[in-house]
Symmetry: C2
Subunit: 284 residues, 2 copies
């Protein structure tokens, strides 16, 4: 049932289910895109809900599957996990590999409108439209039962995808998200390059702005480590998002986790609770 | 309480405990050696049993901690995890980095007797004597409560360490171990280089030979995937070890796990059961 444009590169058994690595020609990004899918054992006999994970800067479709320890809980609750790469790659855009926080590995989950990035960097449309369609066509998914979470840049991505599409994402959570990208150096660099200099246009891609009018309503879960050096550097700004949620009446559980850093060791520690947050809605 | 010769390079919180990465000048290996230690939350208030993990070819002290998903169960049962690097590195031995299955990343957990390797490649003494002493001096360990496990080359290492020192390792298990190194290409290459051409001398480093006279008696647990390509290549030979155990009356649970390969996805799937195997003895 795998469509012809979809290439499977590897398949490995994991916690009774199947972990596969795929590539395909993406129309949203006008380039090859890669992603990983974990199908829990339950998917052998019936369609299952789908939980998307968006990774942080420099990651590929593999980091989450190798290090986050999520498969055991996806298997326990019967969730499919889908993790896309963090950007198009090898597009030929000049300088795409020059910076670790722009271009390759740093798509920021927006639809670029500024040249030269707008020819390929349309990760928002890829994640929200193209990839879910591809998943629905090729895997035993229940398309109307979707959740999304992510880490750092991918936490930002998860929040904006959910806030802009409340009816498509029934649950959302984030680990150490870039919570107010317009106000932090990473976000400002990415938005200036991908979206141009008019900061009014940036607001549509900033969770702390979007939440003011989103009326998402369902509870959002965020964990962030107090020893996260990017928190200290002002890149994450979860307090800005919390304030915006309070103003908008958006239910938020923001937990500052004592002594944890920005790494996958932090993510793995709280993975079960995040999966449970999603399963409570998606598998109910 | 960390001794002066021990350098801590990183410390990260994980499942309520502490994961640290260390280096020190090893007398056994006459070189710098690296290792990782996970201290579970229980170690903050009392000494805890120690479980050593020996990694496979090409691994460092980090792979196990990043990918095996062991910390959550070490935290649950109150076990310290110690994972050494798989060989000395940068020793200056000509050709040490030329092959992925000999020299750097491929110490094979023997004490080399043949030149030039015998000047540094003494991983057996390092793992069995020097490292446990270092751990006892610098961490809240109960030195008389030790277990050991490992993967592939490290599964071989765990088996020979336990079989040669039944009183020091109260529990042992292995994932896809090289079970009869004298009879497989990896083992033959390593032993010929590290131990010389007299195959009679190899028997002291081969689990399937050692078990015939070891009288270890306590139960050994081994998992091996049926889709493991190294099993098909005749590198692992668990059936040879099983036959030797049967002959010697050594209790063995060998589980051929349908569809699993040689990767950390396989290891992670059965990690909880292995930790439970050790905890039943060490934490009883």
């Amino acid at each position: 049932m795998i469509s012809e444009s979809l290439k499977q590169h590897k398949e490995q058994k994991s916690f009774g289910g199947k972990l596969g690595f795929y590539s395909h020609q993406s129309s949203a990004c006008n380039s090859e895109m890669k992603f990983a899918v974990y199908q829990p054992p339950q998917a052998l006999s019936q369609p299952v809900p789908v939980l998307y994970f968006l990774s942080g800067l420099t990651s590929t479709e593999e980091n989450f599957m190798a290090k986050a320890g999520a498969q055991q809980f996806a298997a326990k609750y019967g969730l499919m996990l889908v993790a896309p790469d963090t950007s198009p790659r090898n597009t030929g855009i000049p300088g795409e590999d020059d910076d670790w926080d722009l271009g390759s590995g740093a798509g920021f989950y927006v639809d670029a409108t500024a040249a030269p990035w707008n020819s390929h960097y349309r990760m928002y449309s890829y994640v929200v439209d193209e990839l879910p369609n591809l998943i629905a066509e090729n895997f035993p998914a229940i398309p109307e039962k979707q959740g999304i979470f992510g880490h750092s840049m991918g936490g930002h991505g998860a929040l904006i995808c959910a806030l802009k599409n409340g009816s498509r994402y029934l649950s959302v959570s984030a680990f150490a998200p870039i919570s107010a990208p317009m106000r932090c150096p990473w976000g400002q660099k990415a938005f200036a390059n991908y979206l141009g200099s008019d900061q009014q246009l940036w607001r549509a891609w900033d969770a702390s702005e979007l939440v003011l009018e989103a009326q998402y309503n369902r509870p959002i879960l965020i964990d962030c480590g107090t020893a996260d050096s990017y928190l200290a550097d002002g890149q994450l700004l979860p307090e800005v998002f919390a304030e915006a949620c309070a103003k908008a009446g958006q239910p938020l559980t923001l937990r500052m986790q004592e002594g944890y850093d920005h790494s996958y060791y932090f993510i793995a520690t709280f993975m079960e609770e995040h999966i449970r947050h999603h399963a409570a809605v998606l598998c109910g």
